[in-house]
């Protein structure tokens, strides 16, 4: 009798739900909440000016949050190792979706064909490809069971990443291509690719990019945006304008900012795409250096938890997957904020959890769900995973 009671308690203590990562959850909630406030600040004036509902964007984003929370809960409740079993399906499914986007089923916006339009919402599969690629690479590399990767294995992993990268690149969406490359890099480093292999890959990537320029595969506006950060006095007016206005907005925020809803740059709609890619300018202008650093600190917490989960994982799949997710969040945060302050080229990368955009938000929630699932199931009983 006593024995069975004791065992029951032991099992319940090991039940995954008791091993949630509260820090990770709180950081997610905080970043999402900040996002909703920033989206309101950057959109309510122009919506009012157009005679619309000032809460229009916030409501849509709120709906995406609701879906995201649901997705997060489901993924966290499931064992992440299921993702390993279905990695191939997920990967192939996403590649098919990326191909379908190019058919007339996909919808074009601002010169790029990136998503499907369904019931008033645009679905962007390239956002979900980020998570899907991390799963596929982690599954492939975890199967190898080696501590150092051969060149052949590195190349195979690269091919796995190159297919969606190519499909995303021709949409064209250089931002997501960079994120996918970073995921590949992050997983390869952790899985044990030698430094020279990674160096070789980098050189090939640079050569390919150069070739793409020469062949005119990259559109003019992308070249302009990419190069304008090098010299703010060159480049076409529009590309320079994006960069200058966002820097002016952030710089004018000073140490403590102008206060919420009081930023003149934000209210007068000076920064294009402010509620999506340039949302950090709202934080910078209205909350100043203090606000910016607070947001950076939240991302630091997020990355710390992701890398910690990679370390705690009971199997290699979990480690690699968490590493890929960490690399994904890190590169997005870095390139996005970097471009708003002029140290990174301007590419369309959303700021995780904060930028307006349902697909990106849901992808970020999926990633956190996977991290939570790895964390909750990190324990082993006598060396055997439970």
């Amino acid at each position: 009798m006593d024995l069975s009671v004791g065992r029951a308690r032991a099992w319940s203590e090991r039940a995954p739900i008791r091993h949630l990562d509260p820090v990770l959850l709180l950081v997610t909630v905080a970043l999402t909440a900040i996002g909703l406030f920033m989206v309101f600040s950057s959109t309510h004036q122009s919506l009012l000016a157009l005679g619309g509902d000032p809460w229009g964007f916030v409501k849509k984003q709120g709906a995406a949050v609701a879906i995201g929370v649901l997705v997060l809960a489901v993924i966290a409740a499931l064992d992440y190792r299921l993702a390993k079993v279905y990695a191939g399906f997920i990967y192939v499914g996403l590649v098919v979706l990326l191909l379908l986007v190019r058919t007339p089923l996909g919808s074009a916006a601002r010169g790029a064909q990136r998503g499907f339009y369904l019931g008033g919402f645009q679905f962007t599969p390239s956002e979900w490809t980020k998570v899907g690629l991390a799963i596929m690479l982690a599954a492939y590399l975890a199967e190898l069971k080696v501590s150092e990767l051969s060149l052949q294995q590195v190349l195979r992993a690269t091919v796995i990443a190159a297919i969606p990268m190519f499909l995303v690149f021709i949409q064209p969406d250089i931002g997501t291509t960079i994120v996918l490359a970073a995921i590949l890099g992050g997983v390869l480093v952790v899985a044990g690719a030698r430094a020279r292999y990674i160096g070789l890959l980098t050189m090939v990537a640079i050569a390919l990019l150069g070739g793409a320029f020469k062949l005119g595969l990259i559109k003019d506006y992308q070249i302009a945006r990419l190069t304008s950060f090098v010299d703010s006095k060159s480049g076409p007016a529009e590309a320079r304008y994006n960069r200058d206005q966002s820097e002016i907005a952030i710089g004018s925020g000073g140490l403590t900012g102008t206060g919420y809803l009081k930023g003149p740059q934000t209210n007068l709609d000076f920064v294009p795409e402010q509620h999506t890619d340039f949302i950090f300018t709202v934080v910078g202008e209205e909350f100043g250096f203090m606000g910016s650093v607070t947001l950076l600190a939240l991302y630091a917490l997020l990355l710390w938890r992701a890398i910690r989960i990679a370390m705690l994982s009971k199997d290699k799949f979990g480690t690699y997957l968490a590493s890929g997710i960490a690399a994904m969040f890190a590169i997005q945060m870095f390139v996005n904020i970097g471009m708003t302050v002029g140290i990174m080229p301007i590419t369309g990368i959303p700021l995780p959890f904060v930028s307006y955009g349902g697909s990106s938000l849901i992808a970020s929630f999926m990633a956190v769900g996977l991290l939570l699932s790895i964390h909750m199931r990190r324990l082993t009983v006598g060396g055997v995973p439970i």
């Binding site: 890398i307 990679a310 890190a330």
Partner: protein, 632 residues
Amino acid sequence: MTEGKTSARLKLLAWLCAFMFAALGTRLWFVQVLASADYQRQVQHNSVRTITLPAPRGRIMDMNGVLLAGNRRSLVVTVDRQHTAPNLLRELSALSKVTGVPLGDLRTRLQSNRYLPYTPVPVAFDVSKRVAFYLGENEDAFPGVDVADLQVRTYPDGTLAAHAVGSVGAINAEEIKDPRFANYDPNAIIGKTGVERTYETYLHGHLGQVRYQVNSAGHVLSSLTRKPAVAGDDVVLTIDSKVQRLAQSSLVLGQKAAHGAGFKAPAGAVVVMEPKTGQIRALASSPTFDPNVFVEGLTKKRYKQLFDDPKHAAPLFDRAVQAAYPPGSTFKPFVSLAALKEGYAGLTGSYSCPASYAFPGDTSGATFDNWNPVNSGFISLATALKISCDTVFYQFGADFYRAYRDTNQPNQVQNDLRAFGFGRTTGIDIPAENGGLIPTPHWKSTHFEPTTADPFAATWLPADNILMAIGQGSVAVTPLQLAVGYSAIANGGKVMRPHLVDRIDRPGGRVVKLLRPRVDQRLPFTRDQIDYVRTALMGVVQPGGTADTAFAGFPLSQIPVAAKTGTAQVPPFQDYSWFAAMAPAYDPKYVVVALVEQAGHGSETAAPVVRRILEGLFGLPLTNPATGSVAD
């Protein structure tokens, strides 16, 4: 837990992240703390100028694609009334010299209340490029004056279908508060009347926008965003411009003939309607106007003609839709059907047609005369319609009065008449429609007060029913309502919703809206009763009928016509001349109604007008109206 090597590699990943935070942190420190003052200065210098791109207004075309309203480019001189020179008169006379627009007209246009106070007022249209350059080079001499290259509305045929098509003008202070125009620019040009007004939301399109970054000196640094303008939708009318032209010319010729016969005939209206579909093929009101004058700005003379001078008989007033008149004898077919339904008349009965009629028991000695002072003996209902015998209908009126007085059906005839759509608006798709009036005892008691001179002023009397039976008294209908009523007789009992618009096309070809035939209500009479009345009306244009002279020589064997004359008495004016026709009579394709104010009997002026229109509709040689015989 991960093995040692993996752990070391994860630390490498962590260091990479740390490097990212360091890079961002130092850059933010530089931008937000060290260089912040510089950026704050730039915020002050930053400003954006927004220029709206006008959306071409949708076109209006007739059923065959003939353009009735389109757009053209025009160099327009505008004056901003809040920035003119202190000596406005001197500035305006200089402007008058440059543009060639008389000073008086410039002043009239500037005083126009059609524009909001802060909106630049267009004062000269279609100025030459030279004038535009001159004004541009001498900016200082003309404060507040600007030249704009605008898309302006143009009506290529001017007066053709002007009342139906309507006109445009600047949005006014009241309209701007209307939720329909919530997203409109304060300078917007919107539809004011006619189809231009009803279908404004389709025709308007969406403004585009270009945003420029300007520095504190106002110089453009760069263009930022560009939202292209979206052209408005094209509206295709049911109007056939050939039929419309025919209707307008026939009406004017009819008025001229009436002038020759000593009538004033200042105004009139024509409706040509397809009884099966409710489509309006022509809608004419005379005198008419040229909607281009509202685009080009009014001169003093034109303003007087359009609004003030009674001699010009209010040309903006659409008499086909907005004016209600006593219908006179054109009402008798409807009263006949009411009498048949209520059992006061029968298809085989005969009724006495004396020269005058007195209500039994009325001791005042009041009599109601027939228009023709002879006794025609006992006649059928069909003959009563053919010769338009008033006294037969007085007796029906008396029957209706008794029903009011003695039974619990006080509004018997009124209900039957309303079944044709009288007494309410038809719902045609242009604004400001008049619903006319079918008087009832209740209406009379609420609109009049008994006085000592007339203690029965508010009391429903036999005369009210008796006069209603011949379309007089307080009965009032619009020419359009009469066309709808005749269409219901023509199509076997369906009261169709009349409409002027056939469909709306998005530029590029997609049909956004298609107006299908719509039955508003069905007549409460039997098919036999309706057919009897329609057949009886064929007698009107035949020998012995009231319109036989007007239709002398018309090939009735080819194109049988069922019709009715009407002469409305509107003292102290001359009689109003009505005529309503259905053709071909056995299966009418068209209903044509004409009204000419102060033009004598129906057979005199209105019948020849309708005859000419019918000739045109059926490809016969046209007979120009000469005054017909004098018959009701």
